[in-house]
Amino acid sequence: MHLFLLGVSHKTAPVDLRERLDFSSGDLGAAVEMLAAKPAAAESIVLSTCNRSEIYLASDDAARAREDAIEFISGFHQLPHDAFVPHIFTFEDSAVAQHLFRVAAGLDSLVVGEPQVLGQVKDAFQAASQRHCTGPLLTKLFHWSFAVGKRVRTETALGEGAVSISFAAVALARKIFGRLQGRRVLVIGSGEISTLTAQHLRSHGVGDIAITSRTAANAQALADAVGGRAVPWTERMTALASADIVLTATGAQRPILTRDQVDRVRKRGNPLFIIDVAVPRDVEPSVGDIEQVFLYNVDDLQSVIEENMSRRAAEIARAETIVADEVARFTAWQRSRAAVPTIVALRQRFDAVRRSELNRLDGKLTGLPPEARARVDEVTRLIVEKLLIEPTEQLKALPDEETQVAYTEALNRLFRLREEESRVEDEESAERARRE
């Protein structure tokens, strides 16, 4: 059984094509069921995020798997082959594991280290598993990838540090205030960044969001968008007195918040976090000199983001090492799994010899008391077990596929396992058929 992957991502396909190949908006379960019906797809999973659509298959025939995957995409999205085939990438076996582990770790994302992708990988597995489209190989692979994602997250700082203005502002607010529940926010002036930041603050559970603007209608519109309340421009200083977080984004040419004003209305000792995203700045720089006032303007936040970006970049190498390590371990597991039929055949061969010898001696053994006969049976079984322990371990731990093929071949010849193996496989497939 081989692993096969076919997909498009932000690295290989333009955004309009990615949109047309998106599975996440529709019914992911129905898609994976349709895929699983293809003949070469023994196990199937469809992974779809904003930047990628990927088909994971476990199949005996990689070439057929590729054809089936292309057929499936073309059929599901009603697209001719040549519309997307030039943009696809494909991987097989350990390269599939490597790709998925990198995706789960956030290494393949547009914003490296973003945390959502791991959840999407889990969703993809869930959708396929609920419809019984997965099997032992893909289940193992995906569970492994969850662990890799988690390991990279806990052992490296890849996902740390905000990389957008609004996230950086919220992260800072949390380092100042701890939990944001019940904190009071004042937004002065409206704009894209202040809207986004207010929304983020809202999602972190801040209490009151007061919004004021020279144009009352703008304030009302933003208030409606983020679930806040509009405050008349003339009352902004009253709102400032009780605010914990202030967001300024007006188009004013001169500062609208001076040190005197802030000193006058603020109760001493209460921390105040001011985020000034306006250019030119809305807040007099000396406001930041007040003891419990933390003033960040757009350049400060930008440099925070740049620092975070470079810190993330520095973590990439560590994350890649973890991925490589896990891929090696996964491949070793997969190889040990490939050795299983040979091991089973070898065991059956040995046991067959043991039984035939016992049968041959049956006449001589009948004279013995039943306990002694049981003992003989037990001892011979143990001898066979012990003889096989070491070879079994060695077979499972072979370093690469080539060696494995050579060893399997040698064992087949030395012990005439071929007949045994095909018998085992027949039995297994009969068993599977019976279960299904």
């Binding site: 806990t154 052992e155 700082a157 740390e160 540090g161 800072l172 949390r174 380092k175 100042i176 205030f177 701890g178 939990r179 109760k267 001493r268 000792g269 209460n270 921390p271 930041g288 003891e291 419990q292 933390f294 960040y296 400060d300 440099s303 925070v304 620092e307």
Partner: protein, 275 residues
């Protein structure tokens, strides 16, 4: 006997440091577990010593230090388990380990001065040790606050920024620790005065008791400590001295305590040297 807790504390300290640097959750849990075992072993040691002298485990400086370390460890564990913040461990554990060395190097002698066989004395010493443990925590929280404050205020969000808790948590915890410490300090000092007066009535010729006055460095130190923390509490309520100023005061207060507790106790004081 104090060696086992010391070894466990040192191991926990190393684990806290590794956890702080690499932030592996398993290392953090290992650190807490080691510290819990250290505290457990220490509880056992103190229990044994109490049984041995029948009444009072705190009458010699070494034993008092050991009890102080034990209380500090328990207070820290309480703080960690209630806030789920492990970053403080890296600041507290060095204090714990350094102080625990004292009872290991100078195992306390068995105390038999009958003057000390009083429940008042026991309350006096235990309250003060608990107050000192709270102030030690407050000092470490204050120090951490100042580091984190500097990173955020100077807009240089570096190594410490990501690892240290939020300013708010640090400030609130500092305030709680100072309040608890101040209460116990007050109780300890008042009970000490009452006990000294009583004891003086019973044995008027004891040189220690005769030396008990505001001129004694140790007693003066205690009064200064009380004044510093009283001011810290007053300033927070009325002058808005929260955050960095409160942090600074609690660090200063703990520096005075450490000085009063160790060098003064061993070399200078004449009033607190019962043999």
């Amino acid at each position: 006997m104090n060696l086992l807790p010391l070894v466990l504390y040192a191991a926990a300290g190393v684990a806290y440091a590794i956890h702080f640097a690499r932030r592996q959750p398993t290392m953090g849990r290992a650190a807490t577990t080691l510290l819990l075992f250290g505290a457990l072993a220490h509880t056992f040691v103190i229990g044994m010593q109490t049984m041995e002298v029948r009444f009072n485990p705190v009458a010699s400086t070494s034993r008092a230090v050991s009890t102080f370390v034990w209380l500090l460890t328990l207070s820290y564990l309480y703080l960690e388990l209630t806030t789920d913040e492990r970053a403080m461990g890296v600041f507290i554990l060095p204090v714990i380990v350094a102080l625990q060395v004292i009872p290991v190097v100078f195992p306390g002698m068995t105390n038999s001065d009958p003057v000390l066989n009083s429940a008042w004395f026991w309350v006096h010493v235990s309250s003060l040790l608990f107050a000192y443990a709270s102030f030690a925590l407050a000092g470490a929280l204050g120090l951490t606050y100042m580091l984190q404050f500097k990173e955020i205020k100077k807009k240089h969000l570096g190594y410490l920024y990501t690892r240290l808790p939020s300013l708010q948590i640090l400030d609130v915890m500092n305030w709680r620790a100072v309040t608890v410490g101040w209460l116990f300090l007050t109780v300890g000092v008042v009970v000490g005065v009452v006990w000294a007066a009583q004891a003086r009535a019973v044995s008027p010729n004891d040189p220690n008791l005769q030396a008990m006055s505001l001129d004694d460095p140790k007693i003066l130190g205690a009064i200064v400590t009380w004044a510093v923390y009283s001011f810290a509490m007053f300033a927070r309520k009325t002058l808005g001295w929260t955050g960095r100023r409160a942090a600074w005061l609690s660090a200063l207060g703990f520096a005075i305590i450490l000085f009063n507790f160790l060098p003064v106790n061993y070399f200078v004081t004449t009033s607190h040297t019962f043999q």
